[in-house]
């Protein structure tokens, strides 16, 4: 492994949660999710030599991961996203709290009902990314982020109750 590769692998390892979560938001099928994870890693690797540290590393990673997931210039899903709440395909090794598991599955199902743009925004909001950074990643105004987030929250509330 070259020093550059080593540096990159360590960086991805450190922030792999971000990639896993983007893949989870956009692919319900585990195999397709795995493909998306790999595609994001490859796109990050391609872009790595040009990363100059002008923005935060997580902002840079979110941009590339979301662009890869949203633009959809990859192989189509083997299986379309399911409407079934109980088909959330969680990667949870051991879940002790049944209520928590149910809530999480419901939340994942509700998120998958949102548009691809809204999914990107709620993901960042759930990860406590500041609105300023969400606006920067999405290329919209902070005011637009606020308005959209209110609408998404409302939609999720309804979906979670359904």
């Amino acid at each position: 492994m070259t020093p550059e590769e080593k540096k990159f692998v360590q960086l991805v390892n450190q922030h792999q949660g971000l990639i896993h979560k983007v893949a989870l938001m956009y692919e319900a099928d585990p195999e397709a999710r795995n493909d998306l994870f790999q595609e994001i890693v490859l796109q990050l690797w391609k872009a790595f030599p040009t990363f100059r540290g002008e923005s935060k590393i997580t902002t840079w990673m979110y941009r590339i991961a979301l662009n890869t997931a949203i633009s959809g210039l990859r192989k189509k899903n083997r299986k379309p996203p399911t409407e079934d709440i109980h088909d959330g395909h969680l990667n949870i090794s051991e879940v002790h709290d049944t209520d928590h598991e149910e809530n999480l599955q419901r939340l994942q199902w509700a998120i998958r009902q949102l548009s691809e743009i809204d999914r990107a925004m709620i993901l960042m909001a759930l990860e406590e990314v500041p609105y300023e950074e969400i606006a920067e990643t999405m290329g919209i105004t902070q005011n637009n982020v606020r308005v959209r987030m209110n609408r998404i929250r409302e939609r999720l509330r309804k979906l979670m109750k359904a």
Binding site: M1, E5, F8, V9, V12, N13, Q16, G17, H20, K21, L24, Q38, E39, V41, L42, Q43, W45, K46, A47, F51, W60, R63, I64, L66, N67, T68, I70, S71, G72, L73, R74, K75, L90, N91, I92, S93, V95, H100, L104, L107, S115, E116, I117, A125, L126, E127, E136, T137, M138, G139, I140, T141, N144, V147, R148, R153, L156, R157, M160, K161
Partner: protein, 207 residues
């Protein structure tokens, strides 16, 4: 349920099984499965195939005894050169799709522009290549029959009918079928990208 409750659900869950560094490292050796990467691989294959075919053809040109056949072979070689230019341009256009480092909105705008440019080029090349093929077929027919016999055969209604069919077919292929085929291949994707961009822009224009 408030956003804080949702955050609580989200953040207190083991959503994924972490990958080991070795697994991540192995991923770098893998090939991209994106449509663009596959298109590029296909075009590279076609380019190498055309260059190899061209070299083989060039070698045989010198051993052809009939001069009319030699002319035809040279024309085929010229069409190979056109193809090489076409593939190089296609690879350059496909390269533009790479590097999604901008924000989501800028990336969508860039993708739409690049895809439109790619489709325009694809469509134009269809409209040029098919009639060129027709011309080449005619030249090859003249080379094989000789101009005099070729002109004689034009007096038969079957030959005229056949030529008319060939012209109609190549024009239809170039204009309508080409357009339909490209729309089917990339149209849905382009529409999806435009819809996503509209969705992002809507928020900012209604502020």
């Amino acid at each position: 349920m408030e956003l804080e409750d949702l955050k609580n659900i989200w953040q207190n869950s083991d959503l994924y099984k972490p990958r080991r560094e070795e697994e991540i490292s192995d991923m770098l050796k893998g090939r991209s499965k994106s449509i663009i990467a596959r298109l590029k691989r296909n075009v590279w294959f076609e380019l190498v195939f055309t260059i190899t075919g061209g070299i083989v053809l060039l070698y045989y040109v010198f051993y052809i005894p009939t001069s009319s056949f030699r002319v035809a072979f040279v024309l085929v070689l010229l069409s190979f050169i056109l193809y090489i230019i076409y593939y190089v341009k296609k690879i350059r256009l496909l390269k533009r799709f790479e590097g999604s480092q901008g924000n989501v909105r800028a990336n969508l705008e860039r993708l739409i522009n690049d895809l439109e440019a790619f489709l325009r080029f694809y469509y134009r090349s269809y409209t040029i290549l098919f009639p060129s093929f027709l011309m080449l077929t005619l030249i090859l027919a003249i080379a094989e029959l000789g101009l005099e016999q070729f002109l004689d055969s034009l007096q038969e209604w079957r030959t005229i009918l056949y030529l008319l069919f060939l012209v109609t077919f190549s024009v239809a292929l170039a204009f309508w079928i080409g357009k339909w085929y490209l729309g089917k291949l990339y149209g849905t994707h382009l529409q999806k990208l435009r819809a996503l961009l509209r969705e992002l822009e809507e928020g900012d224009t209604t502020m």
